[in-house]
Symmetry: C2
DNA sequence: CATTTCTACTGTATCGTTACAGATTGCGCT
DNA sequence: AGCGCAATCTGTAACGATACAGTAGAAATG
């Protein structure tokens, strides 16, 4: 019992090595197995022993070695966040990261960010994660109605949550913003201000929420008696393009008197286009925009804004993935946040 | 040689398991050790054997198991990015993440984001990383002149890079923006437009670049013959506070006719304060601001902007940490990016 | 021909953890 | 006394990779 064993700092008292189960086993006089099971509160370990082990562990500042756990059990304690590099102009994804990490900070999970350009194959990062087993759960965004990533992740049984919904009979955890309600209510706000000819800066049509925005917008037009002025550009386009197209539209004889904008960064370009055409918000027209970071009102207080709380989305998705990892049914892990209009929606 | 061995998919051809060294060893008829050494191009392995091993490995899509490597060697293949949650309003940190991951994408490194609120102890995440050995390298920002994190990381021999410099005889890899030149040149631009009474929205005084900004600003005032109008708020303050303070300042009899602003998000609030006081940029005063995301000019084209390329900073720091991990001397891993004024600095 | 030297390869132990199959003890019951 | 059984605890063998200390065979040396 004293031949070639090595008990962490027991060997060299000065160089405090990181404690392992073996260290605790040595200190308590128990076997490593017992210590391991005591720390996970297994039923076949005595109450007093558990207490003793926990005390020593706490005292030593024991933290399980992630590589050991991962090698033995396959559990990585990692949540992978797959981000599209290009979607980002205004801190959208940082807010999401912060929201996620708020939730993860109380858990053993780490967050690994896996960015990719959506000009490349969006399946690549997902396939990498699946093939290498490098995460216990995945969070993805920019969801399409029949998203191949969702299909693949489901098929392979990898827990995940999405920012946005699918639309092809796929059941999975998600968090989404109620874009339909947003667009509908946006039209309502504009009509209440006497606007009737409304343009929509919509997301790219391949994303699921394109349809949500469209439906909300169109039922809004119908319900409140307004008409659409077509806008031939989407919110993913370069800001300069958006501005130019909006400027042309605003100079044309049938310029709209209202605009609904589905992204905060795009709203900045829309505003620039409006001003370039010599029009003024609040006078010649009104604009409603969604934003994820509250800056539009600093720029033009006249813009009617709705906050989409991306940080909250991050929190929800993190909770959902973890719950999914813990075996909770996907159906129970779906949430939709409602648009909130400042000042009671005046 | 055929008792209880298990060679990956050799056992069950249908269920393609992840290949390991053992799989390759089986396929090539070599020992695992040989395969391991062949893949790392060790000198004691025959050229032909190496080629054969590499072929099979490629064919199988072999990827080393990270947990195995990490457990045995201690190498995590992780770079930890420590982010301050509060510093973020406008996509600053996302850009940094993207820059870093651009560089890491060609390497075995993953990026783990470790956010923390700077109201809490900023040492916590760093200590955690050191104590658990959860990364091979660290990237930190919001550097102070005698930053305790830098001290600790250096002392413990953990490779790292900083966004910003220290000022206490500590030698370490960093990337920084030349804030001194920025402030100096900002004053120059303002004076060239006939402005002489200049206010500075400066960073919090505890950060190192506060001094850089101050020095550049003051030598600028001196060199170009202008004077400072004091501004009693810093760029970390809530936007509403900044706006209010600026508004009061702009209404006062000795309002400045120029403002230098050291952060893009703050510039938005400064602009709001100016407009709230009934003043107009370009007419009553001019403003120069640094920005990390090009949006200020969309808001007010009159704002004179300088781009601080945070994505590039991320790239530089990622390269620096990896070089440091590979043993390159810190002295060789320091870089400073110069302010670039659009249109040749008109 | 015996011995050294070199090349090319291999077995074993180990990193920290956990699954699994025991082992030990005490106690009640017949 | 013998047996079964529950309550506790433990040793061993993995997980996948690599450091280290070999070994086998061929070639060079004296």
């Amino acid at each position: 019992m004293e031949n070639k064993e090595n008990f962490g700092q027991a060997a060299s008292p000065a160089a405090r090595e990181r404690p392992t189960l073996k260290t605790i086993a040595f200190m308590t006089g128990l076997g490593v197995t017992t210590v391991s099971r005591a720390l996970k509160d297994a039923p076949d370990i005595g109450a007093e022993t558990k207490e003793r082990v926990r005390m020593v562990a706490r005292q030593l500042g024991y933290q399980p070695n992630r590589a050991g756990v991962r090698l033995r059990t396959g559990k990585t304690n990692v949540i992978a966040l797959v981000l599209s590099i290009d979607e980002e102009i205004m801190g959208f994804s940082s807010q999401m990261v912060f929201g996620i990490s708020e939730v993860l900070s109380g858990t053993p999970y780490h967050i690994v960010v896996t960015p990719h350009s959506h000009s490349k194959d969006p399946m690549l990062p997902v396939r990498y994660i699946l093939d290498t087993g490098s995460a216990d759960g995945v969070i993805i965004s920019r969801i399409e109605p029949d998203d191949p990533r969702v299909r693949l992740l489901t098929e392979r049984g990898m827990p995940f949550a999405t920012h946005g919904r699918t639309d092809a009979g796929l059941t999975h955890p998600f968090h989404d913003f109620n874009n339909e309600a947003f667009a509908h209510q946006a039209v309502e706000r504009l009509v209440k201000r006497g606007r009737r000819r409304i343009a929509l800066l919509q997301p790219p049509s391949k994303l699921t929420y394109y349809a949500h925005i469209r439906i909300g917008f169109q039922t809004g037009l119908h319900d409140y008696g307004a008409e659409e002025v077509p806008l031939r550009v989407n919110s993913d386009a370069p800001l300069a393009d958006i501005r130019d197209v909006v400027e042309v539209m605003m100079r044309s004889p049938n310029a709209p008197d209202g605009i609904v904008c589905s992204a905060g960064s795009a709203a900045i370009a829309v505003n620039a286009g409006i001003e370039a055409a010599g029009k003024a918000l609040g006078r010649d027209l009104d604009m409603v925009s969604k934003q994820s970071v509250p800056i539009l009102n600093w720029i033009r207080p006249e813009i009617i804004t709705v906050q989409e709380d991306v940080r909250q989305a991050g929190r929800e998705m993190a909770k959902a993935v973890i719950a999914r990892i813990d075996g909770v049914e996907p159906e129970l892990l779906q949430s939709i946040s409602q648009p909130i209009w400042p000042e009671g929606g005046r």
